[in-house]
Symmetry: C2
DNA sequence: TGATAATTGTTCTACTATATAACAATTTGG
DNA sequence: CCAAATTGTTATATAGTAGAACAATTATCA
């Protein structure tokens, strides 16, 4: 009676864990890859205490000095309400400054400070190194271009 | 005196906004693509009130019934502390149930309820439709495979 | 022109996702 | 058997994001 019916086909075979049901999903793998890339980015910028949103903001201001807050925010997909604190942070660190343009006194024009210009040169270098690392992981510039092209197809054209 | 010095080289040429400095970054485009794909996923599952984490949890439980909470959580990259509320939600909706295995009374084994089994069949169909949509956007199954391969190269092998 | 609508920055609030610490119950390993 | 590790859980803190409301200003257009 205490026989545990000794497994007619003797196969303990500890069942494996199946992850394909999620890892085969484009969106799932996209997210995992994005999280990992961002974690590496954050690690590389840890000594500079710069988050991805900070870097992309500085980069856009550098490329478009005098832009309004809402222009930078919109380009980054950040709500203008949430963008206020981000700019406050960069301003209090002396990297960015707000100036009121005479032609539209509702808006704030954003500029890098001299210190901000110095710093973004450093940041751009860190970013370029990291980008090179990503390209290496992907298997070269051609693979990177292919990835960028495929990701672009997923993005809304507007 | 009210002459606006009529622009020697007559070119008002309203300056364009340069976004290349960020859109050319692998991580940035990866994130934008991921956000968009997730938004579409959420929209498709809106009537079912199911978030990506909910679906992937159900899918993993379906593929691995009786798994411990921590096994599912770890596979999804979710901290076990945060996984508790997620399972509570699925359990209160009658989709999942916790059972205490006799061999390890610390852990909770996760199973789909009969209702959960019914529902995930529906969810899997919605997901399959969405996946087909993504593949179409990418340009076909070959393009999808290429994307999955490239994303895989960015992921840590472990 | 003047009333109305729209824009911009801002504050406040709320919700989701995530990270850490601590704890009890239990199991594991010397 | 005792110490260490594991599991689920609670509590807490922090980012990121979304919406409403507001004042100041600018744009629209009848």
């Amino acid at each position: 009676m205490d026989e545990q019916h000794p497994a007619p086909r003797a196969k303990p075979a500890r069942r494996r864990f199946h992850t394909d049901v999620v890892t085969d999903i484009v969106g799932y793998r996209l997210r995992r890859a994005q999280i990992q890339v961002f974690q590496q980015f954050i690690a590389r910028f840890a000594t500079h205490d710069l988050r991805p949103a900070d870097y992309s903001t500085l980069a856009l201001i550098e490329a478009n000095p005098g832009s309004k807050q809402i222009e930078i925010a919109r380009a980054l997909g950040i709500k203008r309400a949430n963008f206020v604190a981000l700019i406050n942070g960069l301003e209090s660190r002396g990297l960015v400054e707000r100036r009121q343009p005479a032609n539209d006194r509702r808006s704030q024009a954003l500029y890098l400070t001299p210190h901000g210009i110095e710093q973004i040169a450093v940041f751009n270098k860190v970013q370029a190194d990291f980008e090179a690392h990503c390209i290496e992981r992907l298997g070269g510039p051609a693979a990177r271009d292919q990835l960028m092209e495929l990701l672009g197809r997923l993005l809304d054209e507007e």
